[in-house]
C-alpha cells in the first residue's frame, strides 16, 4: 500500500524485531554516552514507557553485567491540561531505593510528540530529587513539538502529519509488540 494513502485501518510501521533491535541500540548508546552507565537510573512514564524502561534495564544489565535501577514516574498531576478533562486516574510512581539525587536519570517513553509529557516529567522529577543530569529515550519521535524539548535516544524518527495517530503496542500490555500508524477517526486530540 502506498505509504501516503491511509484508509481507516492503521498499519504497522514497526514490528517486534524492529523494536527489539532499537532497544538494543539505545542501550548501547546509553552505555557509550554515560561511560559505562554507572549512575544511570531508568524511569519509565506510565503506561508503556515503564515496560520499555524495564526492557532497557534488562539490556543494560546484559551489556554492563550490573543491575540498573529502574522505576516509574507518573506525570498525571503535573500535566498542563489537567483542568481540561475530568479527573484522571493516577498511575504508579516508583522511585528506586537509592533515589535519584546525583544520578543520571534517563526518562523513557513510547512516543515523543508535543513534548508536554516530558515537561511535566521534568517538573515531577524536581519534587523527587536533584539528578546529576536528565536524558530522554523514546521509541518513536513523531515530530510536531510544542516545547523546546528533544530526545537523546530515539528508536525511530517517524514523520507524521498532525492528523495521524501513532499507537505503540507492547506485549506486556497489549499482547504483541508493534507500532501502528493510522488516521485519527475524529479531529486529532492533542494529548501529551
Amino acid at each position: 500500500m502506498d505509504a501516503h494513502t491511509h484508509t481507516g485501518e492503521p498499519r504497522a510501521v514497526l514490528e517486534a524485531p524492529d523494536i527489539a533491535r532499537m532497544l538494543t541500540r539505545i542501550a548501547h548508546e546509553i552505555v557509550e554516552r554515560a561511560k559505562g552507565a554507572d549512575d544511570v537510573v531508568l524511569l519509565g512514564i506510565p503506561t508503556r514507557g515503564v515496560y520499555l524502561a524495564r526492557r532497557l534495564a534488562d539490556k543494560l544489565e546484559g551489556i554492563t553485567g550490573r543491575k540498573i535501577p529502574v522505576g516509574s514516574l507518573d506525570i498525571t498531576m503535573y500535566r498542563d491540561d489537567l483542568r481540561l478533562k475530568p479527573a484522571r486516574t493516577l498511575a504508579r510512581t516508583e522511585i528506586p531505593g537509592d533515589g535519584i539525587d546525583g544520578r543520571l536519570v534517563v526518562l523513557v517513553d513510547d512516543v515523543l510528540f508535543s513534548g508536554r509529557t516530558i515537561r511535566a516529567a521534568l517538573d515531577a522529577l524536581g519534587d523527587i530529587g536533584r539528578p546529576r543530569a536528565v536524558q530522554l529515550a523514546v521509541l518513536v519521535d513523531r515530530g510536531h513539538r510544542e516545547l523546546p524539548i528533544r530526545a537523546d535516544y530515539v528508536g525511530k524518527n517517524l514523520p507524521t502529519s498532525q492528523r495521524e495517530l501513532v499507537r505503540v503496542q507492547l506485549s506486556e500490555e497489549d499482547g504483541r509488540d508493534t507500532v501502528l500508524l493510522g488516521l485519527g477517526a475524529t479531529a486529532p486530540t492533542r494529548g501529551q
Binding site: M77, R83, K85, A87, R88, T89, D127, R167, G191
Partner: protein, 325 residues
Amino acid sequence: MMRHLISAADLTRDEAIRILDTAEEMARVADRPIKKLPALRGRTICNLFFEDSTRTRISFEAAEKRLSADVINFAAKGSSVSKGESLKDTAQTLEAMGVDAVVIRHGASGAPYRLATSGWIDAPVVNAGDGTHQHPTQALLDAFTMRRRLVGPDAGIGRDLAGRRITVVGDILHSRVARSNVDLLHTLGAEVTLVAPPTLVPVGVGAWPCEVAYDLDAVLPKSDAVMMLRVQRERMNAAFFPTEREYSRRYGLDADRMARMPDHAIVMHPGPMVRGMEITAEVADSDRCTVVEQVAAGVSVRMAVLYLLLGGNESDTAHPRTEEK
C-alpha cells in the same frame, strides 16, 4: 456522577474503589522529600467547621495543602455564625469569595446535603461529618486501612473487601461513623455486624444492610476487623447503660477478648479513644491496633477525594484512564 461527597451510600463500588486506588498513590507522596503535588494549584477550599473537630479538620487541611490548594479555615466559634448568621448567608458569602470547594462539618444531620442542593453555591461540597448522619471520608479511610491490612497495599489495588467480616462495636445510635461504614462496607462486599447494648442500637436498623448482635464474645472469633466506637458522652442525654464499668466489661475490648480474635484480625478505632472505657491501653498500644495508620490513611483518602472532585474540569470518579499520546 459524583459532584459532591455527602454520604457513603452515594458511592458505587467502582467509585469507591477508584477513590481507594487513588489514595494508595497519594499515600506514596508522604515518603517523598517534597510532600506536595501541584494538582489543585490556584484552587481555594474552605473548611467550614460548625462543630468541634481536631483530627478531621487537620487531616483535611493537610490533604488540601499537599495538593497545593489555598485553604481558608472557618470555625463557627468566634465567627459571624455566633452572631446569628444562617447557613445560607455563610454559604453565599463563601460563594461570593469564589471558593472552589467547601468541606463542611455540622452538628445538624443533613446540613451538607442542604448546602449542596439548595443552589446557594456552585462549588462541590464534601461532608466532614454531620450530626448522627454520615462521615463518608472516615468510612473511606477505614476501608482503605482494612484493604491495606487484610488484602495488602499493592495486592489491594482494584479490589474490594468481598467476604471480609467487619464488626462494629459500641454506640451505634449516635455514630455517623457506623452509618457511613455500614453503607460503604456493604457496597464493597464486606459483611458487617453491629454489636451494642440494645439501648444504643437505632430504631430502623433492620433496614440497614448488616447484622446486629448483642454478644461481643460470640462475634469476635469470626471477625477480620473489629472497630471500636467511642461512647459519645456529649450525646448521652439519657441512661443508655447502667454504669460505665458494666459497659466496659460487656462491650469493651481488652487483651483477653483480643486473643479470641483470629490471628490476622485487626482492631480499629476512629478516635479519639477513651482508654479504659471501650478499649484498654494494652489493646490500643498493640501492633494489631491500626489507630495511627487510620490517621495517616485519612490524609491520603481526603487527598484522593479532593483530587477526584476538583482535579479535572468536572468531577468524575468513574472515568477510565485516558490513553492518548
